[in-house]
């Protein structure tokens, strides 16, 4: 594992200034202002960022590593919520928190789907049927944050840097989506323990509506990342 400092002005549009003044070196002494097709470059302050190479793998940018950490944090938050919602579970389950960071290079694959299917199955098994817990709200936050971090990580190469505008945009998306969980949570808390008088027909209608929703968003199989 090696950490490689890379010193460059990585602002888009700033040309690579090999010299402090952005001009070719002193060997250009014989050339004058009438040189054909000499490209001038404005000088810009150089910034630096670090990349991390894990073994023989690709270089990982700090932004990608941060996304991996966020995804891991989401899984940890989900497990904490599950721990308190279920009243405790076997310690071996805590090892699942390592899965997002170990599968960082497979963010664009179906690995994350399998991981979260397992986590949700665990929630389904460990929590009591018919119960409601406010711990489902942080669990939803953990799942959402991890999902978004994985999706954003898959949208750029391992060495790609995160733009602050993209971070703010994804933050707004996450906030809006999480508000839906809060609304549903409040509604579930409000109706919990009460009989709404719903018959089997209501369940059928609900499931048909859900199936129709899935049918509407049906698409081709997901593309494989290159």
């Amino acid at each position: 594992m090696s950490e490689q400092p890379t010193h460059h002005g990585d602002r888009p549009g700033s040309p690579p200034d090999g010299r402090p003044d952005g001009r070719p070196d002193s060997r250009a002494g014989g050339s004058s202002a009438e040189q054909p097709a000499v490209t001038a470059s404005p000088s810009r302050p150089a910034t630096s960022y670090r990349t991390l190479r894990l073994g023989a793998g690709p270089e990982w940018s700090s932004g990608q590593l941060a996304l991996g950490a966020v995804s891991t944090g989401g899984a940890a938050l989900f497990l904490v919520a599950l721990y308190f919602a279920a009243g405790g579970f076997d310690l071996i389950w805590w090892l699942l928190v390592l899965v997002p960071v170990l599968t960082l290079s497979m963010a664009g694959s179906g690995m994350s789907l399998g991981f979260w299917a397992l986590m949700l199955y665990g929630w389904f098994l460990l929590t009591d049927s018919g119960s409601f817990t406010w711990w489902s709200l942080p669990a939803a936050a953990g799942l959402l944050v991890s999902h978004a971090a994985t999706a954003l990580s898959a949208s750029m190469p391992p060495a790609g840097q995160l733009a602050s505008a993209a971070v703010h945009r994804w933050g707004r998306l996450i906030g809006i989506a999480f508000s839906a969980a809060a609304v549903v949570c409040c509604a579930a808390a409000a109706i919990h323990g009460r009989s709404l008088g719903l018959g089997p027909a209501a369940y059928v209608i609900g499931l048909v509506g859900l199936a129709a929703g899935v049918w509407l968003v049906r698409t081709n199989p997901p593309s494989q990342p290159h």
Binding site: A28, S61, A154, P157
Partner: protein, 438 residues
Amino acid sequence: MVSQRRRTTTERSLGDWHPTAAHARAVILASVCGVAAVLGRRPDLLVIAAPLAVAAGWGHLARPRAAVTGRAALGDATLREGGVTTLVVHADPPVRQADGVVTLASTAWVERKPASGIARLDDDGVAVLGLRSLRWGRHRVGTLSLTLTSAWGAFRVGPTDLPDLDICALPLPSAFDTSAPTPHPRGIVGQNRSSHPGSGTEFNTIRRFHPGDRLRRIHWPVSLRTGDLHVTSTFSDEDAHVFLLVDAYSDLGPREGIDGRPTSLDVTVRAAGAISEHFLRANDRLSLRTVGAADVAPIGVGSGNHHLRRVLDTLASIAPATERRDEGEHAIRGVDPMALCLVLSPLIEPTMVALAHTLASRGLTVIVVDTFPEHLVANPANVHESLAWRIRLLSRAAQVHSLTSRGVPVVPWRGPGSLDHVLRDIARRASAPRMSRR
């Protein structure tokens, strides 16, 4: 070939939008959790699935439907080695709330900025990368690929590789200047003093006024003293023809680019560029021939900035040792007998020594510029290689001696003033008394 077209702009359709694994994850998990919540009477699962359902629905509704075309253009396709330019990438039409990533593959002699070669498209669908040429020559910019991902990372188009772009890095001329006159001037527009009186700047004598003399040439002190009008006469300024013969048989030494130590061909090409620039700016005429490189067109006699551009472009197109069968006979055919012949070579290839002998035997004024890089014989990192080069230089010394004994000066390339001494010697030799047959 000099006339080879270089691609400076490129475009390609990125193809269709495809759902990503993230979208499939959101749809499947939200659906399964919804069904499980309803059937299993688990409202907490419904809470957990609600954000994913929002993400899946949002990602689907915000799915871009327009076909996107990726375009890329170089700011300057021709630059000096060490020079910088920009590569501007557009996604047309720009996609709102999409993450666009441009990846430029690494390639030889082109430095990318950012160093990773990765840039993000801004809100207008534009990304700019910096490029720096590290060595003279024609280089292909690395493969450029473009990827767009829609909101929530739900749909993606690309990565699609755009057709490659080319840049031409002209050799960065070494510093060169000479104050010595060029031998055998015979044109009418140059800056070299001829032996003929005429309109110029170099003082000749003060003589009596003749009809047709310019009034501003009248020398009033002498005129007042003698009582007759006298004028200042000058020598005419004339241009000379410089013939460059470039050795491209070999490229000795490690290629380290503009920031490292030069190879023999680096020295040769940069020296040729510097000499061309100097003489062409002095309004002299210049022609260029190359030996040992395939597909390099000879440059005929010309002058001016446009001709300088042609010369530099030709030098940039040299690929060393691509024509080993070239004996150089075509290169020295039809050379102007009054031309100053400059042979730029590290003198490792015997053919170049033979060509210099041939030119000298024709009575041409020949100067051999030795472009052998000195660091090859003083490389502390590889003493054995340095020793081998020193032995090779010992054997080369006999060939150099044969040239000097014939009257062909061999001068190492030192930049400014490299040719001053020999050019003055040649000028003195031309004005010296000589034996002639009557």
